[in-house]
C-alpha cells in the first residue's frame, strides 16, 4: 500500500501513534475549549451556575442581532467576491510564468502574511484617512474636489480586507493550478478552442478545488477579522466579533458572549459545508 513512499508501512497501531501528538494537541487546545464554550453558552446567569437556553433566546429574539449576523456573513461573501477578482488573474499569470517570475510572484503573495495584522491594519488608516494617501493623490490629480470618506465605511473595510486576505485565496489556487497538466491547455487549443474557451472550459473548472479551499479560508478569516473590522470599520459598522468582544471583556457577560460565538461558529460552518459541497460537485462534473 504505502509502496510509493520510502517510509515503511507503520501498520494501523503505528499510524495511530503517528497521529497521537496532533490529536492530543487538537483535543486539548481546540476541542476542549470549544466544548467549554458551548457549555458556558448554555448557562443563564453571569456566574454560570444555572443551565438553560436563555442566552440563545435573548440573541435570536432580537432583529438587530439577526441583522448583525447577516451583515457579518455578507461581509465575508463580499470579501470573497473581491479577492476572487484579484486572485484569478494573478494565479493564471503565475501558472504561465517562468521559474524566476514565479519566485518573485510567490514572494509578493506571501509578503502581506509576514507583517503583523495590527501593523497592516494601522497602515490602512494612513492610506484611507481623510488626508491619507488615496485622498491626497486623488485630490492633487484633480479627480475629486473634496476628500472621500473611505475610513470607517464598508468599502474601505473591504479594500483593506482584500489585501489582508488575498494570500489565503491565492495560495491554494496557485498550488492547484501549477499542478495542472500543461498538456491539457495544449490539447484544448489543438482541438480548436480559443484562449477564452480554454480558460472557461479547462482552466477554471480544474481550479475549482483550490478555489473552494480559498473561499473557505477567506470567508472564515474575513468574518472573524476583529482587529480590521474594529479599526478600519470603526464604531458604526458592527459585526459579530465586536459583539463578542463587548460582551466578554467590557461587560463580563461570558454566557452571552459564548452564545454569540457559538452562533457565529455554526453560521460559518454552515457556509463552509455548503461551499465544500459545491466544490465536490464541481470535481464530480470534471471527472464525470
Amino acid at each position: 500500500m504505502g509502496g510509493s513512499i520510502a517510509v515503511p508501512d507503520a501498520g494501523r497501531s503505528g499510524r495511530m501513534l503517528l497521529l497521537a501528538p496532533m490529536l492530543l494537541f487538537f483535543g486539548a487546545f481546540f476541542l476542549a475549549p470549544l466544548l467549554l464554550l458551548v457549555v458556558v453558552s448554555f448557562t443563564n446567569d453571569q456566574e454560570m451556575t444555572v443551565l438553560g437556553t436563555a442566552q440563545f433566546e435573548k440573541f435570536l429574539s432580537d432583529r438587530f442581532n439577526w441583522r448583525v449576523l447577516f451583515e457579518t456573513l455578507l461581509l465575508g461573501a463580499k470579501v470573497v467576491a473581491c479577492t476572487t477578482l484579484l486572485a484569478f488573474p494573478i494565479a493564471i499569470l503565475f501558472v504561465q510564468a517562468g521559474p524566476k517570475l514565479r519566485r518573485l510572484l510567490l514572494m509578493l503573495i506571501l509578503l502581506p502574511l509576514l507583517t503583523s495584522v495590527v501593523v497592516r491594519t494601522f497602515a490602512w488608516i494612513v492610506i484611507l484617512a481623510r488626508e491619507g494617501v488615496v485622498n491626497s493623490v486623488l485630490l492633487s490629480m484633480g479627480i475629486i474636489g473634496a476628500p472621500l470618506q473611505l475610513l470607517h465605511t464598508e468599502m474601505g473595510l473591504i479594500i483593506a480586507l482584500m489585501q489582508i486576505e488575498l494570500p489565503l485565496m491565492l495560495l491554494p489556487l496557485v498550488s492547484v493550478l501549477s499542478r495542472m497538466d500543461p498538456n491539457l491547455i495544449a490539447a484544448s487549443q489543438a482541438l480548436g478552442a480559443g484562449s477564452w474557451r480554454t480558460l472557461r472550459r479547462v482552466i477554471l473548472p480544474l481550479s475549482l478545488p483550490g478555489y473552494a479551499a480559498g473561499v473557505l479560508l477567506v470567508f472564515a478569516s474575513a468574518t472573524a477579522a476583529f482587529v480590521s473590522q474594529s479599526v478600519i470599520g470603526g464604531g458604526r459598522l458592527i459585526y459579530m466579533p465586536v459583539f463578542v468582544y463587548q460582551q466578554a471583556t467590557t461587560l463580563f457577560n461570558w454566557p452571552f458572549a459564548a452564545a454569540i460565538s457559538v452562533i457565529l461558529v455554526i453560521a460559518i460552518s454552515m457556509v463552509a459545508v455548503g461551499v465544500n459541497q459545491l466544490g465536490r460537485t464541481a470535481r464530480g462534473n470534471i471527472h464525470g
Binding site: E131, L151, S230, T249, L251
Partner: protein, 346 residues
C-alpha cells in the same frame, strides 16, 4: 497549580537573569511581585522607573504584565482557584467596582501604607489607592478648528465632519457621554439627551471610534480635529509634535483615578503593599510626572509640574473635578453599550 509555579519560577528566573546582567544583585534573595499594568506607557513607566527603585530599596523584583483593565478582571475571573495570574491590579473605576464585587481584591492594610497620608482625600478607599488622576476633556487641533468651550460644541454645526465620538466601551467615553447628557439636561440615570444629540450628529460625524487606541491615528491623519480624551493622550501627542490642545469643558472636567489593588489570593501581600506604597511616594510620583509618562500625581506632597499644572490647575482644583458614582453607572452600562450600537449603526 504546577503550571502556575512554573510560570512564576520562569518569570522570576527571567527577571533574575536580566537583573544579573544589568546590575550587581543585592545579597538577599528578592521576592517577586507580579503587577498588571496597562500596555505601553504604564507598562514602560513601571518597568523603568518603579521596578528599579523597588529592587534597590526593598529587594522586591517587580514583574509587569501588560493588560488592559478589563482584561485583568477577565483573567482573574477566569482563574478562580490556586495561584493568581498576578498579585496586583491597575484599574479604572468601572472594572475596579467589578473586581471588588466579585471578591477579586483584598482590603488594604493602612498601617503598611504610610504614604497614604499625602493622598488627596477621596482618591483612596479600603480596597485601593489612586496612583494617577485621569482628567477627561476636549482635545482639538488649534491650526484647523476654533477652540471649543464645552460639550455642547461637539454637536455644533461649525464642527460638522470634524468630531470623533467614542461610546461606552471605554471608561473615558462613558464619563464623557454622561457629561454630554448633563450638558443637554440629562443625568447619570438619564442618558436620553446624549443619545438624541448623537443621533442628530451622525450624518455629520467625522468618526465613531470603538476604543481609545484608534484616536491618535485618526487625529494625526486629519480624519477628525476634535474629540474627547484624557490629558495623557493629549500630552503624548503634543510631545510628538502634533498640533493638539486640551480644553477643560465649561461645565467642569470629569476625572477618575487609576487605582492599584492587591489580588485576594496573592501570596506576597507584604511586598505588594510595599509596591503600592512606593507608587504613591511623593518623590516617585514626581518622577512619574515627567514625560513621557506624565502621570498626574495623587499625592498632594508632589508639586505639579508646569505642563501638568497648565492642563489641570492645582491639586485643590483636581479634588473638585467631577467624579461619577460607578455603582450607579455599572448596572446601566450594558444597556448603554447596546443602545449606542443601535444608534450609531450605519
Amino acid at each position: 497549580m504546577s503550571a502556575n509555579l512554573g510560570r512564576r519560577a520562569a518569570l522570576a528566573s527571567a527577571a533574575f537573569a536580566v537583573g544579573g546582567l544589568a546590575a550587581p544583585r543585592p545579597a538577599a534573595a528578592a521576592t517577586t511581585v507580579v503587577a498588571a499594568h496597562y500596555p505601553n506607557t504604564w507598562e514602560t513607566a513601571y518597568r523603568t522607573i518603579v521596578a528599579p527603585a523597588l529592587l534597590r530599596q526593598h529587594q522586591i523584583e517587580l514583574v509587569v504584565t501588560p493588560l488592559l483593565a478589563f482584561d485583568q478582571v477577565a483573567r482573574a475571573l477566569a482563574q478562580p482557584r490556586g495561584r493568581p495570574p498576578f498579585d496586583c491590579f491597575c484599574l479604572d473605576p468601572g472594572p475596579r467596582l467589578t473586581a471588588i464585587e466579585r471578591g477579586l481584591v483584598q482590603r488594604l492594610d493602612r498601617a503598611q501604607l504610610p504614604n497614604l497620608a499625602g493622598i488627596t482625600p477621596g482618591f483612596h478607599d479600603e480596597f485601593g489607592v489612586g496612583v494617577a488622576v485621569q482628567v477627561v476633556g476636549l482635545a482639538y487641533n488649534p491650526k484647523r478648528v476654533e477652540r471649543p468651550t464645552g460639550w455642547r460644541d461637539l454637536f455644533d454645526a461649525k464642527y460638522h465632519g470634524r468630531v470623533a465620538l467614542t461610546g461606552f466601551g471605554a471608561t473615558f467615553g462613558t464619563v464623557a457621554m454622561i457629561e454630554i447628557a448633563k450638558a443637554f439636561g440629562g443625568s447619570e440615570t438619564n442618558m436620553e439627551p446624549a443619545f438624541e444629540q448623537v443621533r442628530r450628529l451622525l450624518p455629520n460625524v467625522g468618526a465613531v471610534a470603538l476604543n481609545s487606541s484608534q484616536l491618535p491615528a485618526l487625529f494625526q491623519q486629519g480624519q477628525v480635529d476634535i474629540f474627547y480624551t484624557n490629558t495623557n493622550n493629549v500630552a503624548a501627542l503634543k510631545a510628538r509634535g502634533v498640533d493638539i490642545e486640551f480644553v477643560q469643558p465649561d461645565t467642569g472636567c470629569p476625572a477618575f483615578n487609576t487605582t492599584l489593588h492587591i489580588h485576594t489570593r496573592s501570596t506576597v501581600v507584604a511586598e505588594a503593599h510595599r509596591y503600592i506604597n512606593t507608587s504613591i511616594d511623593p518623590e516617585m510620583q514626581a518622577l512619574l510626572q515627567q514625560p513621557p509618562a506624565m502621570f498626574i500625581p495623587t499625592n498632594m506632597r508632589t508639586p505639579l509640574a508646569p505642563e501638568v499644572a497648565a492642563l489641570v490647575g492645582s491639586h485643590d482644583a483636581m479634588g473638585r473635578f467631577i467624579q461619577h458614582d460607578w455603582s450607579v453607572i455599572n448596572p446601566q452600562r450594558p444597556g448603554w453599550i447596546e443602545r449606542f450600537n443601535r444608534e450609531v449603526r450605519t
